[in-house]
Symmetry: C4
């Protein structure tokens, strides 16, 4: 069942330790088959060295395990909530990568301070509110997804253009069209969080990126006029497009 | 004599350099056989590359060497004190891991600022008082254990729920039901100390975890209602437990 | 066409991940054949693991692709501008190395605070102005080169003696007589940016290098009286040149 | 000539990149044969990957090259000065390790803030004065040794008990009874500089180690009553020395 997707999700999970994003078992990636309405997720608490593609657990959009011998990630209800409310995403990753966690602990957005940020995130990566006592007791993991979605709605953010969030006092979630792209976005978040931390210690004055620079870098890589990389029509003409 | 425990303690010691917790020979792990009242500890000042299971030294709860050709760790009296006063622990680790040492040097608790902390430590990891001149001269290593135990008593902390402490101006000690779990706890302490340092530089206002979030994360992994991982009854039902 | 230069530029590009200067594909090196007026540059968005010498793209000094199946780096117009305005350089490198980016984000020069800096950079490495809205919309990558050249002109800096610049809110560019030396300079910049950051957090008073120390270290390695290394006439006599 | 010492100095040099103490060629180790009055030092500007034992250069205590095809380190006059004025040392190392350089750039001592420091350095590691214009022009490398020795004399420090110094705006020098022990001391300095930096950012109040704790840790490892490690008479009795 969903063997290709299991392989893809397995490989995306295995990139987490290679990219320095996880300690021990503290991270998980999932990927969804939107047609079947089923997603595949890492089992809970399994060491990366021991993980196998066939260990992946299949879950439906009610959050029920459909196939799998092992327990799914304890964060499964968060993944379920996000897949239900962000209908265009194909993969989700949760880590406790240390720089993103530092901003989450401080309840501070990861601000857009350099063009690497703008290449991937079209604005600040928001720190969603920490959960209230009632939200924690009622449905902790589900409400973790809910606070992210609520933050995107309140701030009128486009989840495709800002494909990550921090949950305050907890850590980062990232997503994307595929599990692999979600992992990429999680790594970018970690890198810019590190750079932002140091920039903010050097100065806190007048360093937010202006909107026109955000626009330039974001649209250089995304959408119809993108010209970064090998897979778009605009790249060839770009090199010589001026003078 | 205690060959299985020697192997177990040896392997726990060898994890220290792999986890980035030691420079040179600056760390030691021990493990106890409670029935026999004997514990096994790394010899003093031996390079990790040269260490062998049979080098482990057997010590009794009076701190006397019972078996072993080499001298035990110079921190042996600290281990003895902790085994005598924390009767439910099965392993102890001492390192000079740099982030925990930075908090120890500043004589500041490693505060509970994120859920990774709460997963392992049910509250702040205390910075025990530095030893007085008299305590140092009388019995330095023994009193290093004593200041830890005194701090837990004075603050009414449960050493099973907060399985680590800093000794001010010195460094971290961690413990657990097994030597391997003690090493795990030492690594968690190092990771959260790093994250806490950066969070505290971003802001020092209003960032302590509330008790209800500590409760949630701690009991998600510990005790009768735990549902993280593969080895408990609650995990399977958790994934779909709401909606 | 230019097979030797392609190999040289390929090898210089492959040093970037080895030196810890790039994440993913975020960096590029070029090298020029001044006689032919052609330069060779990394293709856009290709993973380092997949890169081959024959993937390198040949570009002329108008910025037009002369040979190559792939699209050149999206930063090609910046390279073109710099080669046209800094006529003595033979190689250029652009990275998003994290410490240099942190200074770029803060729009702060990387100051000359230690002798490692002076060995390579004869003074502060300037943070060139971020581009204006008009400059970005008109010709983003070309004007990225222009703001660097403008900064060197305004501050009357010698681009051979200070072979690097930050572009504010973006990141570092470095150059040199060869692609390989440009990469070396990019690494030195990253190292001194890290050291400067920490020095500036310790104190911000009275720490700029005096001119005479800059002179000493810079001319110890550069010019007719250099005596560092194996390839100059002054080295042998130096060891015993005093007492 | 001095083949064993060349091998020893070569091996000590090769430990520098393994311990993360050097970038490129920025470091050098020497070792002395006190009976012959000759010392062996790394050649100038040679990559560690290319270094061979037979490349080592033999120098006398006037600083003259006695044997060797290559130029000795440009820092040779500093080594000469230190061997002449610190008559009991057997090896010297100079690096540009980044944490020590950060303190050097800030012209701040590496303070004794934790017991790891006290195990190796019996007090603060001093930041020697930066050289004056006259000192630089007269004999830069020789006077680099002179400012270190002057600092030890003025502060009445014992160079055997505090086996390292920073040269302000430059970087660290460390020494010891052998080249290998000098490298060890250079690594300890780098580790404690990192920990001190972070401790000082957490708090600057009341964190200097008291003399009695310095005494305890230093003499636990050094001198007639040392009991750390395997090679002293006191170790065995230590484990059970109290209660």
């Amino acid at each position: 069942m969903l063997e290709d997707l299991k392989q893809e999700v397995y490989e995306a999970n295995m990139r987490l330790p290679k990219l320095g994003l996880v300690t021990f078992t503290w991270g998980n990636v999932s990927g969804i088959d939107r047609e079947k309405g089923l997603y595949v997720i890492k089992p809970s608490g399994v060491e990366y060295d021991d993980l196998k593609p066939e260990d992946m657990v299949v879950v439906n959009l009610k959050g029920e395990v459909v196939e799998g011998k092992m327990n799914p990630s304890s964060d499964t209800p968060t993944h379920t909530y996000l897949y239900n409310h962000f209908p265009k995403i194909g993969g989700i990753v949760h880590t406790h990568s240390p720089w993103a966690v530092s901003f989450a602990a401080a309840k501070i957005d990861v601000p857009a301070l350099n063009t690497t940020h703008a290449d991937t995130f079209f604005g600040d990566v928001p720190a969603a509110d920490a959960l209230t006592k009632e939200e924690i007791e009622e449905d902790y993991e589900g409400n973790t997804g809910k606070t992210i979605v609520k933050t995107f709605n309140e701030r009128q953010l486009d989840y495709e253009a800002v494909p990550a969030a921090l949950v305050s006092q907890h850590g980062p979630f990232a997503w994307g069209p595929t599990p692999d792209k979600a992992v990429y976005n999680a790594k970018v978040l970690e890198v810019v969080a590190e750079e932002d931390y140091h920039a903010l210690q050097l100065t806190r004055q007048n360093i937010e990126l202006p909107q026109y620079l955000l626009d330039k870098h974001y649209y250089r890589k995304h959408g119809a006029n993108a010209y970064y990389g090998q897979n778009n029509a605009k790249s060839k003409e770009h090199a010589a497009h001026k003078k």
